[in-house]
């Protein structure tokens, strides 16, 4: 009998999880290279011998919305955006190899190409890219080749990451393979690099606000069900009491 309330509770818990994920998407609506997160729910079947089976809602997982964000032109020579499915590769301060699409790059005092958070940007061979001092005319080709008047200076790597969905999110727009898993990223040539632009967050404001409303409604529905169930039991108890 009481399972009813617990089924509603599972819905309320799922709605709450969805709210948290949506809140994070909205908070990152202006974060360059950010990829939205989505929650996937599943039915959990509880077999009930002698009665009808019941199904609970469980949050099975969350997945990344990998769609490309809009390009915003900045004119900054060290801002790059990727047009296609490829990913940039970074080495974090802890030495982890991570993947992401945030192309707001800058240089370290030694001329090493890095992100705003200080992660080094890698070439297709996994090495860092160092630019000599005194470069005036920095050009980055669609293939990621950096050149100036002095000639070719290096190439920013672009990678195909087939099992990105199973990667852990590190923050700062980075994804890393989960512990024990193999890094299956491969250099790709099907992606184009665009200099002087950044890829804005792929979060769709209207979709997110609609989701907020949806989450709120399903939460209300769940609490309403719990409330009704409670009233039903009280009502039943009152009637039984009267009978006695």
């Amino acid at each position: 009998m009481e399972t009813n309330s617990y089924i509603s509770l599972s819905l309320a818990a799922a709605a709450r999880r969805d709210l948290e994920v949506t809140a994070n998407n909205i908070a990152n609506a202006n974060t360059a290279g950010f990829k939205g997160e989505r929650v996937a729910f599943e039915a959990y079947l509880l077999e009930n011998p002698g009665g009808e089976d019941t199904e609970f809602v469980i949050d099975a997982g969350s997945y990344v919305d990998t769609r490309q964000g809009a390009f915003v032109q900045t004119g900054n020579p060290l801002d790059i955006a990727l047009n296609g499915d490829g990913w940039l590769s970074y080495r974090t301060a802890e030495g982890q190899i991570a993947y992401g699409r945030d192309g707001q790059l800058s240089l370290s005092p030694d001329g090493v190409l890095q992100t705003q958070s200080g992660a080094e940007v890698l070439d297709s061979g996994g090495g860092t890219i160092t630019l000599p001092p005194g470069i005036t005319d920095l050009q980055i080709s669609p293939e990621g080749t950096i050149s100036s008047e002095a000639g070719e200076l290096g190439q920013i790597g672009m990678f195909d990451v087939p099992s990105l969905q199973s990667y852990e999110r590190l923050g700062a727009g980075m994804f890393v393979p989960p512990e024990g898993a193999r890094d299956d990223a491969q250099p790709t040539e099907s992606t184009e690099m665009v200099q002087g632009s950044i890829e804005s967050s792929n979060v769709h404001p209207i979709a997110e606000v609609t989701r907020l409303m949806e989450v709120q409604k399903s939460y209300e529905r769940a609490t309403k069900l719990i409330d009704n169930e409670d009233k039903l039991i009280r009502d039943a108890l009152r009637r039984i009491g009267r009978m006695g």
Binding site: R16, R17, L19, E20, V21, T22, A23, N24, N25, I26, A27, N28, A29, N30, T31, A32, F34, V39, A40, A60, G61, S62, Y63, T74, G75, N76, L78, D79, Q104, S106, L107, S108, P109, G111, Q116, P133, G134, T136, Q165, S166, E168, R169, G171, A172, P178, E179, G180, A181, P205, V209, L212, M213, V215, Q216, Y219, E220, T223, I226, D227, D230
Partner: protein, 261 residues
């Protein structure tokens, strides 16, 4: 409710964004000012259920996990170091840098600062100084009775004194460049200061390889793109509103929960 604090980080980030944008707009007519942009990054993720967790004894694994992000933070402000437009002033002591580099300014405390603002003046002693009265490196003193001053593209300063048709060479302006311009710290008064992030200054004369040339009689306008700033302002405001909507929703959900029995 994590959603409350997540939305709070979002509002804070947008507040920073508006601060940076309003400073850009306020400096739209400041000589040598470089437009800045707030860069954001997502905060760490709470790994509620791990990617690749075993789902059966046969070794099947979960293809995805559950990652709950904790919001957003400002990772830095990026200065856009593109060339600003030239404004003709016809003033002998106004110089603009066409290309890379910064004028070197000797601060009264002995330190050095860097600027793109070439609106120079003369001190009571005839010294070439900035608007704040700080000496422009290398210290150039203009002799008395100077009729006109000429500064060529290489920054060589020449003075025509009294009726002498041949100019007197007074010195040559120096320029500094940095590996990472973005690492320079703005000090206000159009001055920038070197930091560990910018690297050491490389000093040379205008016109040397990798350095810009100077143009007398011009000032470099700010490179603020007003239309861009206004559209950024609109998007920042909307993003702020969306985050407040999240807070509202979370609040209403909590109130709904409280009303159950």
């Amino acid at each position: 409710m994590k959603a409350l604090s997540i939305a709070a980080t979002g509002m804070l980030a947008q507040q920073n964004n508006v601060d940076v944008i309003s400073n850009n707009i306020a400096n739209a007519n400041t000589t040598g000012f470089k437009s800045a942009r707030a860069a954001f990054q997502d905060l760490i993720y709470e790994n509620v259920s791990r990617e690749g967790a075993l789902t059966s004894d046969q070794g099947t694994i979960a293809p995805t996990g559950i990652d709950i992000g904790l919001g957003v933070q400002t990772s830095g402000t990026v200065r856009l170091n593109t060339q600003g437009g030239f404004v003709s002033t016809e003033n002998d002591l106004d110089v603009a840098i066409d290309g890379q580099g910064y004028f070197v300014v000797n601060l009264p405390d002995g330190g050095r600062a860097y600027t793109r603002d070439g609106a120079f003046q003369l001190s009571a002693e005839g010294q070439l100084v900035t608007m704040q009265g700080y000496e422009v490196d290398p210290g150039v003193v203009v002799p008395e009775n100077t009729k006109s001053i000429e500064i060529n593209e290489q920054g060589v300063i020449m003075a025509y004194v009294e009726s002498d048709p041949n100019p007197v060479e007074l010195g040559q302006l120096s320029l500094a460049t940095f590996i990472n311009d973005g690492g320079l710290r703005p000090m206000g008064n159009n001055l920038l200061e070197g930091t560990a992030a910018s690297g050491d200054a490389t000093t040379a004369n205008p016109g040397d390889p990798g350095f810009g040339i100077v143009r007398q009689g011009y000032l470099e306008n700010s490179n603020v793109n007003i239309i861009q700033q206004i559209t950024d302002l609109i998007s920042a405001q909307r993003a702020y509103e969306m985050n407040s909507k999240t807070i509202e929703t979370a609040d209403q959900m909590m109130s709904t929960a409280n009303q159950v029995r």
